[in-house]
Symmetry: D3
Subunit: 162 residues, 6 copies
């Protein structure tokens, strides 16, 4: 862990970190997040008439597309050529929420945790969009990196709860 | 509040809601969210050598830009011509977190809460990006709409905590 | 019908047509197209194990998103604020093809037939992408405007077959 | 040829195919398509006053730009770094149409036929846009991959007519 | 003329200016710029074998497309629906340069001079790109607003030379 | 130096240059430009109340983001995966201007001077946007490549003044 912010120079000016000399290795990251909603809203997208509907398909595509746009959304992220993006949804009725997880991979010079986090965030926002007319009180929470591997720092796994 | 999902038809197929006949009114929404980090990381961006640095400026710009891209990120959002986007940051050292708030406005046919939520989400992701080398355990949480006005449904204000 | 190309001046130079003084009216366009595939491929996406899968949902979202990007894809198209985009799929096993239709609407100063055509084209390309590993011989065909209304030229309806 | 759709898992959920372990090889694809128009419209863009105009130049640029945007347009396409894109036009007055062909190349882990198809499609749409005021009945047809090489599956060439 | 920067608040924080309450009026702006090159390079694109080539057509399209992307490129610009964009080129062999001019129009709540400047800048960059292999010493210069009208401040015309 | 334009074929048709067979080498380019403004405007962003404000931070981010979008802005540029982008500002009160410099790097098959030039151009445009309400007469000038290295042509350094 470095003791200063990698994107800022001594004058506090933010620039894109130089990764030109970093090795090309296989890199992978997973992230997760939750969208909390009322029991009724959750039932609406997981049971009955909307059960087989497009809700999760739309949010999955939005998350995948967003991972590819990460370098455009996050100003100091490098443009990357992801070789794999996956977004999954697990309704957790016991917690009145949907768990969203993502996996990103590439062979490259820098990690893909921002891509994984972006996929989760935008998938959550898309679920919010489709349910907001019935439940404006939803909350997106617990967006965090869960694992990360590849590169000099090797394998990292979240140990704190979120 | 409607009793079914506005974006889905009877077959569960998702399409963009028709707002052609809705009135053009002034609409406004605010949203908020938090990024939780270690006390050390928070100190690093709010005190001492990085205090006057670009950290919040970069995240603010990322949030504003993301609000403008909302129709491209969220598949069923309408393209909108925002007339105002504002993103603010309040360090909350007592909670080891930064509070992020946003305000979006337009004269248009549909609400701007997704734009406000997107601004907060991407501002949080950008703070994550700049601090991740020192603190990979950060968590983004509590992303929610706080107020909304304009349009047929009038003024709405969040009453539940998040 | 004009007797010269509206986007070109006397020197043959292409520029965006000036619509500043055109009235804001409700405009609407529909378009259609087909993707022809083998009977086996068509069966794969409409019956059996993939039947309830995401195939059409993904293509629908791609078409809707593309309609919103039309002004970015087609150099001389005006940026527009679509108020409605809809994309539908009708498998036609008797012709070994899927019919793709779209509907776009807005209140604005110029027509939306390019948006409708772009939605159909990209929806077809997305179906091609998902099926190409099993059927590289697919053909996209019959992409055409079917109706158009609003603006000075009023209602127009395709009379020729395609 | 695989016997199931590569982008869908057993639950029918669509995700980006994992190409992380595929070899980097030189890959190339060509595609073609047609835009059918009236004899008058075709004459307008190939003879007389518009002959030396920008019509084909604009459509060529649109096609090239679209090939670069393919990963953004087609949800499950990987982002790719194309090393060559070429788009050509051949007026075919005997068939009242313009033939559009494209060639895409890269050194990478996945094929470029979607990029070649996207270039052809958007070039056709751009011709449609510039001619639509004089000929709204145009039809885009016969969009197909013609050849493909590189990668595990080696050289492939279309044998069916389109 | 205001006596402080409109985009910054008292804390020096940059946000998008609020134009929600500004009147919708017809607005227009023109801008210009130059790309200086060697006499040989200029001759290459204006005479002989490349004379009827696509060079200016490509740069014109790039400029028009860039005007439409202005809100995405310039962080605090509002998204706008341009109703007209025009880009023109005048070779000035007596000065070894090409003059690039642009015109942007819309009915809206804020001016379009940034769109006009962006069109000129990107058209110049595109000419640079096409000529750089023969003339890496080119210089882009004199990019400025020439006229501006519409809105509260009325008609403005550049009086200083550039 | 080639004796004809690399992007045009014998018919004057512009296409993306084929770099498929070029070696992957470390490439780097620097560029510079200036924005000339009144002494008062320059003082406003470098002294007194706006001194510690976001002005340069916003322009820096805009320049970095634009470098990443270069392949989308300049029609015949290849998409590239930049490994480093840096943008710096030097107020030059003796010349009533701000000097903007950029540095871009990548390991790739083609040079990055267009990315460096685009970063400088858009950073200048962003400064223009933030200062235009107080000083509409600003001029952007002297945008040029200063050094370039990597690839077959090796190191190149500007010798002419600009």
């Amino acid at each position: 862990m470095s003791d200063s912010l990698t994107h800022l120079n001594a004058q506090g000016e933010a620039n894109m970190v130089d990764v030109t000399d970093k090795a090309v290795t296989q890199r992978q990251a997973t992230a997760q997040g939750y969208i909390k909603m009322s029991a009724d809203t959750l039932a609406m997208i997981t049971e009955g008439k909307h059960k087989k509907g497009d809700v999760f398909a739309v949010a999955r595509i939005a998350g995948i597309q967003a991972a590819k746009k990460c370098g455009d959304l996050i100003p100091l992220c490098h443009p990357l050529m992801l070789t794999k993006v996956q977004v999954d949804f697990t309704p957790e009725p016991e917690h009145n929420r949907v768990k969203v997880t993502s996996l990103c991979k590439l062979s490259g010079q820098t990690g893909v945790e921002m891509e994984a986090l972006t996929a989760v965030s935008v998938a959550c926002l898309t679920l919010f969009d489709m349910c907001k007319a019935v439940d404006p009180n939803m909350v997106i929470e617990g967006i965090a990196v869960t694992t990360k591997s590849g590169g000099k720092s090797g394998h990292w796994e979240r140990t704190q709860s979120c």
